[in-house]
C-alpha cells in the first residue's frame, strides 16, 4: 500500500499531473473562449499576435534555451491546437459524397501533419548536450570488439574503414577488430558468382592480415546485416561492441570519448554518435546547395537525436554506435524482424530497461548514396522498416517503454507516412478548382484568422528547431522528392508488414554523366502541369462563381505554392556526374611545403584534402633556388608537413599536379605517392581527427537559415533552372528515343536541332545546376 501511495505521490508524477492539469486548463481556456466568445477581430488578434510573438521569440537567442524555450514551444502548441480545434469543429461540413470523401482525406492529411508537429514539439523540448566520457579506470577497461560488416562494398572502401579502426586510441589488448564479410559467405562462394566471392574473400582476408585484424565470413546470408553481426557476436567476447558500416570511417577518439559512459552507468545499453557525412546527399548535390548548407542528416544528428536523448529514447542508427554485449545477449542479439534492425534493437533494449546515450561529437565520417536510385533505395528501406515496426511492434503497445519513449518511437515511425499527406496536399486544390469538390469549408476571413497563422507558425517552429541545420524549404523538397516512391512502398508495407526485405544501399554506383532521372521527375511535371491547369479554372470560377471567391483565392494560393515546391523539387532529379574516387574535404590548418628538387620551403594554408592529396594556398610566390623559375611547376616533387589538432606531425611526399594564381595567392595541388605507411598516415590525418568534423559541422551550421525572401528567391531560381534543365533533358530524351526508333543518331538530332539547342543547350543546362 505504501509503495502504491509513494508511486502515486512521487514528485515526478505530481509534477506531471500539475503540468497536465495546468495545460488542460490553458488549452481549454484558449479553445473555449476563442471559439465561443470572441468576434472575428479578436480571433484575428489572437492568431496574429501569438504568431507575431512566436516570430519575435524565435529570433531571440535566449529563447533557444530553457526555460524561455518552453514558453516558445507552449505558444507554438497553442497556435496549432487552436487551428486543430477550429478545423475539427467548424469546417467539416457535409455537402455531397465526393466532396465529403475529399474533405475527410484532406482533414486526415492535415491531422497527420498536426500530429507530426506536436510530436516534434514534444521531442524537441530540451535537447541534451553531453560532455565526453573518457575511460576512468584504465586498469579495468572493458574489452571492445569493432565490427565492420560488409556485403558488396569495394575493398578500397573497407580498407579505409578498417585502417582507421586499427588506429583507434584504445589499449591493443582490449580492442579487437573484425571484418564481417557477407559478400563471401560459404553460400556465396558455392553459388552463382562464386569466383567473385572467392576473390573478395581473398582480398578481405589479406587486408585483415595486413592490418592485423580478424576476418569472419559465415555460412549463409541469413537476416542480412543483423544476422551477420549476430553471427559475429557468437564468435567474439568483448564487453562492448562498436559497430561501423564499411563506409563509416572512425576517428581515433571514438572509444576514448564514449567508453566512460558504460563505466558510469551499468544499465547503459548503447551510445550512439553522429554520422558525419563527407559528401552531400544526392538532392543537395543536384540542387546545388551543398556548398553553403548543412547536410540532410545534420538536422537529425544535431537536433532530433539530442532531443531524443532527454527522453532516454536515443536509438541505434545502424552504425557509429557502441553497444553493451551483455545487453545485446539479453535481447537475443540484434533484432531481425524489421529491416530497420537498428531501431528495433534499441527499442528492445529500452524495453528491458537499458538506457541509451547520444553523444553529439562526430566520430565517424561516412558517405551518402551518390545516385538518386541509391538514395531512394536507402530511404525506402528506412520507411518500410519503420512502418514494419509501427505495424508489428507498435511502440505504443510495447511493455517496458515509458510514455515518453513510446511517443519518441512513435514519432520515429509516424514520420514515414509523410508521402500520403504530401500527395493529398499536392492534389487537394486541383480537386476543388477543377472538379468543384468542396473540401475545405472556410471563408477567407477564417483562413486569415486560423489557417495562415498556423501554417506560418509551423515554419517558424521548424526554423526554431532546425534553423541552423536546414534551409527553410528544404524539408519540403526532401519529402516531395521522395513521396512518389515512398507512397507505394509504405502502402505495400502497411498491407503486408512482413513482406519487405533488407535491400542494401548501393555504395559503388556513381553517375557517369549528367542525366535526368526521368522516373523521378515525371510525376513532378504532372504536379506542375496539373496545378497550372487548375489556375484557369480558378479564373473562370472567380468570374462566374463570385460566392466562392474566398475559397477560390485559397485554392489559387495553394496551387501556386504547390507549383513552387514542385518546381524546386524538379531540380533534384537532374543528376550530376560524380566520380566516387575522390572524396575531397575542405580542411583548414597550416602546412609546410618543401620542394626537394630546388630546396625551397614555404608556409602554406591547407585548402582541401583527400586520401590522395592536399590542396595548398601559398601566401607568396616561391622564388629562388638553383635552376628553377619563379612559381611552382607542375610535376615538381613536393614534401608537405602537416599536423592534426593533437599536434601530431605527418609528412607526405608527392608531386605538384596543378597550380593556379587566384586573388594574389598561389593555389597548388599535391598528389601523394602512397606507401602502406603513408596511406595509414593519410587516413589518420584526414579521418582520424574528430576535431576536423566538429569544426566542419560548426562552420556549416552557423549560417542564418531563416530569411524568407532570400530563401524563396534562392529556391525559386534554382527550381526554375532545374525545371528548365529537366525540360530540356526530357525533350532531348524524348527526341533521342524517337530518333533511335527512326534510325537517326543522337548526334544527328543535335545537328538538325542546332538552332534550337543554342537557345538552351545541354551544356548550359549543366552549367546552371
Amino acid at each position: 500500500m505504501r509503495n502504491i501511495l509513494s508511486r502515486i505521490f512521487n514528485r515526478r508524477i505530481m509534477l506531471f499531473a500539475l503540468h497536465y492539469v495546468a495545460a488542460c486548463y490553458a488549452f481549454s481556456l484558449v479553445l473555449y473562449l476563442l471559439e465561443r466568445y470572441f468576434n472575428l477581430f479578436h480571433k484575428d488578434m489572437i492568431g496574429w499576435v501569438m504568431l507575431g510573438l512566436l516570430i519575435v521569440l524565435a529570433r531571440v537567442r535566449e529563447y533557444k534555451l530553457p526555460p524561455a524555450r518552453m514558453t516558445f514551444l507552449i505558444l507554438a502548441s497553442l497556435i496549432a491546437l487552436r487551428y486543430t480545434f477550429w478545423r475539427t469543429f467548424s469546417t467539416l461540413v457535409y455537402t455531397d459524397l465526393p466532396s465529403m470523401i475529399g474533405t475527410i482525406v484532406l482533414y486526415a492529411a492535415e491531422m497527420y501533419l498536426v500530429g507530426t508537429h506536436f510530436l516534434g514539439i514534444f521531442v524537441g523540448l530540451w535537447p541534451l548536450e553531453r560532455d565526453a566520457a573518457p575511460p576512468e579506470d584504465t586498469g579495468h577497461l572493458p574489452t571492445v570488439d569493432v565490427f565492420i560488416p560488409t556485403y558488396n562494398e569495394p575493398l578500397e572502401m573497407v580498407k579505409l574503414t578498417a585502417t582507421a579502426a586499427a588506429q583507434i586510441d584504445y589499449p591493443a589488448d582490449k580492442l579487437k577488430i573484425y571484418i564481417l564479410d557477407d559478400g563471401a559467405t560459404a553460400a556465396k562462394r558455392q553459388g552463382p558468382g562464386a569466383g567473385e566471392a572467392e576473390r573478395r574473400r581473398a582480398g578481405m582476408s589479406a587486408l585483415a592480415a595486413d592490418l592485423g585484424i580478424s576476418y569472419i565470413a559465415r555460412e549463409k546470408n541469413e537476416h542480412a546485416k543483423a544476422g551477420n553481426v549476430n553471427y559475429a557476436l557468437g564468435l567474439t567476447g568483448g564487453d562492448l561492441v562498436l559497430l561501423l558500416d564499411s563506409d563509416h570511417v572512425p576517428t581515433r577518439d571514438i572509444l576514448s570519448n564514449t567508453v566512460g559512459f558504460f563505466q558510469r552507468d551499468p544499465r547503459l545499453g548503447l551510445v550512439q554518435t553522429p554520422h558525419f557525412m563527407g559528401n552531400p546527399s544526392i538532392i543537395e548535390k543536384n540542387i546545388g546547395s551543398f556548398s553553403n548548407s548543412p547536410r540532410e542528416n545534420d538536422m537529425f544528428f544535431n537536433m532530433i537525436h539530442r532531443s531524443l536523448d532527454l527522453w532516454n529514447a536515443s536509438y541505434f542508427c545502424g552504425s557509429a554506435a557502441i553497444l553493451r554485449r551483455s545487453a545485446l545477449e539479453e535481447i537475443g542479439g540484434f533484432a531481425t524482424t524489421s529491416i530497420t534492425e537498428d531501431v528495433q534493437t534499441s527499442m528492445l533494449l529500452h524495453q528491458r530497461g537499458y538506457n541509451s546515450v547520444y553523444f553529439r561529437k562526430p566520430m565517424v565520417c561516412g558517405l551518402q548514396p551518390n545516385t538518386f536510385t541509391a538514395y531512394v533505395i536507402q530511404r525506402m528501406r528506412w520507411a518500410q522498416g519503420m512502418v514494419q515496426i509501427f505495424m508489428l511492434n507498435n511502440p505504443l503497445t510495447r511493455k517496458g517503454l515509458d510514455l515518453f519513449q513510446k511517443l519518441c518511437y512513435l514519432n520515429a515511425c509516424y514520420f514515414w507516412f509523410f508521402s500520403f499527406s504530401r500527395l493529398v496536399m499536392y492534389f487537394g486544390p486541383i480537386l476543388f478548382l477543377t472538379f468543384g469538390l468542396k473540401i475545405y469549408h472556410a471563408s477567407s476571413a477564417q483562413v486569415l484568422s486560423y489557417t495562415l497563422p498556423h501554417v506560418i507558425a509551423i515554419f517558424v517552429v521548424m526554423y526554431f528547431f532546425y534553423g541552423n541545420t536546414r534551409r527553410l524549404f528544404f524539408s519540403e523538397v526532401y519529402e516531395s522528392a521522395q513521396m512518389m516512391f515512398m507512397a507505394p512502398a509504405v502502402l505495400s508495407t502497411l498491407l503486408n508488414p512482413r513482406r519487405p526485405v533488407f535491400k542494401i544501399t548501393p555504395k559503388e554506383m556513381g553517375v557517369e554523366k549528367d542525366e535526368l532521372n526521368l522516373t523521378g521527375a515525371m510525376p513532378f511535371f504532372v504536379v506542375v502541369l496539373a496545378n497550372a491547369a487548375a489556375l484557369p479554372f480558378a479564373v473562370y470560377k472567380w468570374i462566374y462563381f463570385p460566392a466562392y471567391r474566398d475559397v477560390i483565392l485559397i485554392g489559387n494560393f495553394w496551387c501556386l505554392y504547390n507549383m513552387f515546391i514542385a518546381i524546386m523539387t524538379l531540380g533534384a532529379f537532374f543528376e550530376r556526374r560524380e566520380s566516387r574516387r575522390n572524396t575531397r574535404f575542405s580542411i583548414h590548418g597550416k602546412a609546410a611545403l618543401r620542394l626537394p628538387g630546388s630546396g625551397v620551403s614555404a608556409e602554406a594554408a591547407l585548402v582541401d584534402g583527400s586520401l590522395h592529396g592536399l590542396g595548398l594556398s601559398l601566401e607568396t610566390e616561391l622564388s629562388g633556388g638553383a635552376g628553377r623559375a619563379e612559381g611552382v611547376l607542375v610535376g615538381e616533387r613536393a614534401e608537405v608537413t602537416v599536423s592534426d589538432s593533437a599536434g601530431k606531425k605527418y609528412v607526405f611526399s608527392g608531386s605538384i599536379v596543378n597550380t593556379v594564381l587566384r586573388r594574389g595567392r598561389r593555389l597548388c595541388g599535391v598528389e601523394f605517392d602512397h606507401t602502406e605507411r603513408s596511406y595509414a598516415d593519410a587516413v589518420s590525418f584526414l579521418y582520424g581527427d574528430s576535431s576536423r568534423w566538429t569544426e566542419m559541422l560548426r562552420t556549416r551550421s552557423t549560417g542564418e537559415m531563416f530569411n524568407v525572401s532570400s530563401d524563396v528567391y534562392y529556391f525559386l531560381k534554382r527550381g526554375l533552372h532545374g525545371m528548365l534543365v529537366c525540360l530540356v533533358a526530357a525533350l532531348r530524351w524524348g527526341l533521342e528515343r524517337s530518333g533511335s526508333l527512326l534510325g537517326i543518331s543522337a548526334a544527328g538530332i543535335r545537328r538538325r536541332l542546332a538552332p534550337g539547342w543554342k537557345i538552351y543547350r545541354w551544356k548550359n543546362a549543366r552549367e546552371v545546376i
Binding site: Y37, L125, D137
Partner: protein, 733 residues
C-alpha cells in the same frame, strides 16, 4: 286598406327584426387591426391578399358585413379590371375598377353561414389590365391600393351557452379566438398563500390556452358577473362560497369542475345562473390536492372526461430543460422545416411572392462570434423562367442570400447550402422571409401559362444553428416584452420567484396577469414558480416584484436604478441629456421634491442582490389599484413594443392615453447560461485584454512548470553519465 296594411307589415317586420336581434351584440373592427398593413398595393395583372380573422367559439354570427375602401390606378381599363372579395374561398362580392372614379368603396354582405367558429379567410383579389390585347404583366400602371385602415368588418352575433362537459367548456371559455381580448376573474382567498400560488398556476395555464391572445385577469373574493370566473381554493373556502350562491357541491378530492356562472339567489331564493358565462372550480381538500387540481386544470386538453367535472389523482409533467420554451430553436442540431412547423411551400405565378416564418433564438444566445447559420434548401423550380429569377432569403428584413434560378429548363436542387452570418439574427424572435421573384422568359404579348411558373421549397430543407454561448448584458426590458426574458428561460417557472410586498387582490391580479404573460411567452404554465410575501424566500431565482412603490423591501429598493417616491419627498430623477455614439446615452440627474403621477407605473430591472447573474424585475405603482392597472397595461402590444432599457414609466390610463418613457439608465450586469454567471467567463468576454494577460500568465506558468519538470529528467539523465559504477572499477559518488 292597402295603405293601412303596408305600414302595419313594415312595423311587424321591424318588430320581428328587432326581436331577432334582441340580445345580439356587434363587433366592429377596422381591417388594419386584423393584419399588419394599414394599406396594401395589389400589383400586376393578377394579385391577391388574404386576411385571417377569428370567430370565437362562444359566438353564433347572425350577420356579417364588410366595408372595403380602395383606390385604383386611373390607367386601368375598367371593363376588364375587377376587385373581388372571397370569404373562405367563396366569392361574396366583386366590383369593377373604374379608372374614372379611382376612389372606391365596396360594401359586402357576408352570408353568416359562410363563417365558421375559428379562423376565417378573407381574400381580396384583383385582375387588372391596361389594354385589351398585348400588355406587360407587371406594368407599373397595374395597381390597386386597399385601405385597410379605413375599411371595416362588422359581425353581429349572439352568445352561446357554456358547454356542460369540462374539456369543451375549457376551450369555450378560454378561447384564443376571443375578441377583442380575454377577461377572466379569479375568485380566491387572498389570505391563503397556497391558494394564491395555485391560482397563479391556474391563471398561467389559462393564459396559455389563450395562446397569443391577450388576457386580463382580475382577482376578487367573490364571483364577478359578466365574465368567466375561476374559483380556486381549498374545500373550506370553496364549499361555503358556492353554497351561498346556490351552486353548492362537495369537494371530494382534487377537483376540476365547470358550472354555469352562479349569480346568487333571486328574490324567491332560487339560484340564478349566467349560462353564457362559466365558472371553473379548482379545488382540493388540502394544499396538495389543490396543487394537483390546479395543474390538471392547466393541462386538460384531450376530450376527457365526458362530464363537467373530474377528480384528479395525479399529474405527471414533462421535464423541460432550459431554453425549450415556445418556438425556441434547438441549437447544434439540424432542424427540418417540418420540425419548425412549416409545410412545403409553393410560389406559383409571376412576380414577387413571399413566405414568412419565424424562429425564436434564446435571448441570451451570444450572436457575436463569426458563426454562420446553415440553411440547406431542397427545392424545385419549373421551366420557362428568365435567368434573373431568384429566391431571396431575408432575415429580419435584411437580405441574407439570393439563389439565382438560371436554368431555363427548370431544375431540382438538393442540399443547396446557404451560410447566413449569425449577426443577421437577433436574440428572440427572428423573421425569415423567402421571396420568390419569378420572371417569365416569354416576351410580352406571348401567351403565358402563369401557373406553370413555380418554385416549391420542400419542408425537408434544414436549418442548423450552431451551438453558441449564453451571455447577455441586462437589464433589458425589451427582452421581457419580447419573450418574458429571463423569466421564461426555464419553461415551467422553475426559476421564477414572485414577490408580493403586499398581497391584496390588486397585487394578486397583477401577479396573474404577469404570470399569464410569462406563460404565454414560454408556452408553458408556471407550475414550479414560487411565491413569497413581504420578503423573497427562494433567492437563487429570477425575482419578479409586484407591488406599491413604497412597499419594496429595503435591500431591493436600494438597488433600484431610480428611487422614485409615491409620496411627496425628495427623489433623484435621471433625464436623458445626450446620446453619444459608442458610449451610449448620457444622463443628467435632478434632485426634486415631488411624487410619481398616480396614473404612472414603473418597470425597473436590476441584478439580484443575492445571486450574481440573476435578475430582479420590479412592477410598481402609486397604489395597489395602479399596480393591477399597470399589469393590464403592459399586456398591450403598443406598450410592450415601447418597453426598452432599464427603467420604463408606463401610464396605465385609458388605452388612448397610454404612454411609455424608457431609459437605459443604471448599472448593467451580465447573465450567463441558465441564469448563472461565471465570473471567469464574464471577465474573459467583457475584458478581452484580461484574457490576453491571463493567457500570457498561463503560458509563463506552464513554461516554468515544464522547465522544472524537464530539469528533473535532464538532471537524472546526466547524473547517470557522471556516476561512477562499481562494475568496471569506478567509485560511487
Amino acid at each position: 286598406m292597402k295603405n293601412r296594411i303596408m305600414p302595419l307589415l313594415a312595423a311587424l317586420l321591424f318588430a320581428a327584426a328587432s326581436f331577432a336581434s334582441a340580445g345580439n351584440k356587434t363587433y366592429r373592427s377596422s381591417l388594419d387591426k386584423l393584419n399588419p398593413h394599414g394599406t396594401l398595393d395589389l400589383k400586376c395583372v393578377s394579385s391577391s391578399y388574404k386576411i385571417s380573422f377569428p370567430v370565437p367559439e362562444r359566438w353564433t354570427v347572425r350577420k356579417a358585413g364588410l366595408l372595403l375602401r380602395y383606390t385604383n390606378s386611373s390607367n386601368l381599363r375598367g371593363e376588364v379590371s375587377q376587385l373581388s372579395v372571397r370569404i373562405n374561398d367563396v366569392p361574396v362580392g366583386q366590383v369593377k375598377l373604374d379608372p374614372r372614379k379611382t376612389e372606391g368603396e365596396m360594401s359586402v354582405n357576408i352570408p353568416a353561414a359562410r363563417l365558421e367558429n375559428g379562423y376565417n379567410t378573407l381574400t381580396f383579389s384583383v385582375v387588372q389590365h391596361y389594354q385589351d390585347n398585348c400588355e406587360q404583366w407587371d406594368a407599373p400602371d397595374l395597381w390597386t391600393n386597399l385601405q385597410f385602415d379605413r375599411s371595416f368588418l362588422e359581425l353581429e352575433y349572439a352568445e352561446r351557452r357554456v358547454p356542460a362537459k369540462l374539456p369543451e367548456a375549457l376551450g369555450f371559455m378560454f378561447d384564443p379566438k376571443a375578441l377583442p381580448a380575454g377577461e377572466v376573474n379569479v375568485v380566491l382567498d387572498k389570505g391563503s398563500r397556497e391558494s394564491v400560488l395555485q391560482a397563479g398556476v391556474a391563471a398561467s395555464g389559462i393564459a396559455r390556452r389563450f395562446d397569443y391572445k391577450k388576457v386580463g385577469f382580475t382577482a376578487s373574493a367573490g364571483i364577478v358577473p359578466g365574465r368567466d370566473n375561476i374559483l380556486v381554493g381549498e374545500k373550506k373556502f370553496v364549499e361555503p362560497l358556492l353554497s351561498g350562491l346556490g351552486a353548492g357541491f362537495e369537494v371530494a378530492g382534487p377537483m376540476v369542475k365547470v358550472v354555469p356562472l352562479p349569480l346568487g339567489r333571486d328574490k324567491e331564493g332560487l339560484p340564478r345562473f349566467d349560462r353564457r358565462r362559466g365558472l371553473l372550480v379548482i379545488a382540493g381538500r388540502s394544499p396538495e390536492e389543490l396543487k394537483t387540481a390546479a395543474r390538471a386544470a392547466a393541462e386538460i386538453s384531450f376530450p376527457f372526461p365526458g362530464a363537467g367535472e373530474t377528480i384528479v389523482k395525479e399529474v405527471s409533467l414533462p421535464d423541460l430543460p432550459y431554453y425549450s420554451g415556445r418556438g425556441h430553436i434547438e441549437t447544434g442540431r439540424k432542424l427540418t422545416f417540418r420540425k419548425l412547423g412549416l409545410p412545403p411551400f409553393t410560389f406559383r405565378g409571376i412576380g414577387n411572392m413571399t413566405e414568412d416564418f419565424s424562429v425564436r433564438v434564446p435571448n441570451d444566445y451570444l450572436m457575436r462570434a463569426g458563426k454562420y447559420i446553415s440553411l440547406s434548401l431542397n427545392f424545385i423550380y419549373g421551366p420557362g423562367l428568365k435567368e434573373d429569377s431568384s429566391l431571396t432569403v431575408i432575415v429580419n428584413d435584411t437580405i441574407a442570400q439570393v439563389i439565382n434560378m438560371a436554368n431555363p429548363a427548370g431544375e431540382r436542387m438538393e442540399k443547396y447550402k446557404l451560410d447566413i452570418p449569425a449577426y443577421l439574427f437577433t436574440s428572440g424572435e427572428n423573421k425569415i422571409r423567402f421571396i420568390a421573384s419569378l420572371t417569365p422568359k416569354s416576351q410580352a404579348c406571348e401567351l403565358l401559362m402563369v401557373d406553370s411558373y413555380f418554385l416549391t421549397v420542400y419542408n425537408n430543407s434544414t436549418f442548423t444553428f450552431p451551438k453558441m454561448p449564453h451571455l447577455l448584458e441586462l437589464p433589458r426590458l425589451e427582452l421581457f416584452a419580447d419573450n418574458a426574458f429571463p423569466f421564461g428561460r426555464l419553461p415551467g417557472g422553475g426559476d421564477v420567484e414572485i414577490l408580493l410586498p403586499e398581497s391584496g387582490y390588486d397585487e394578486i391580479a397583477a401577479m396573474f396577469n404577469l404570470a399569464g404573460f410569462i406563460s404565454r411567452k414560454s408556452g408553458y404554465p408556471l407550475y414550479d414558480m414560487s411565491l413569497s410575501v413581504g420578503a423573497p424566500e427562494k433567492r437563487d431565482r429570477e425575482l419578479l416584484v409586484i407591488g406599491r412603490l413604497d412597499k419594496l423591501p429595503e435591500e431591493l429598493a436600494d438597488g433600484m436604478p431610480v428611487a422614485l417616491r409615491n409620496a411627496p419627498g425628495e427623489s433623484e430623477v435621471p433625464n436623458l441629456s445626450a446620446k453619444k455614439w459608442g458610449t451610449g446615452p448620457l444622463f443628467s440627474l435632478t434632485r426634486q421634491i415631488g411624487a410619481l403621477d398616480t396614473e404612472y407605473g414603473m418597470l425597473m430591472g436590476m441584478e439580484s442582490p443575492y445571486v450574481a447573474g440573476r435578475s430582479v424585475l420590479f412592477f410598481g405603482a402609486h397604489s395597489s389599484a395602479g399596480v393591477a392597472d399597470l399589469s393590464r397595461a403592459v399586456l398591450d402590444h403598443d406598450i410592450l413594443g415601447a418597453l426598452n432599457g432599464t427603467v420604463a414609466a408606463v401610464s396605465f390610463g385609458s388605452e388612448a392615453s397610454r404612454r411609455v418613457a424608457s431609459l437605459d439608465y443604471g448599472r448593467k450586469y451580465w447573465t450567463g447560461k441558465d441564469g448563472r454567471l461565471s465570473r471567469f467567463v464574464y471577465f474573459m468576454y467583457v475584458h478581452p485584454f484580461m484574457y490576453y494577460g491571463s493567457l500570457i500568465f498561463l503560458i509563463l506558468v506552464l513554461s516554468l512548470l515544464l522547465y522544472f519538470y524537464l530539469s528533473g529528467i535532464r538532471a537524472r539523465r546526466l547524473e547517470l553519465a557522471r556516476r561512477r559504477s562499481p562494475v568496471h572499477g569506478g567509485k560511487e559518488k
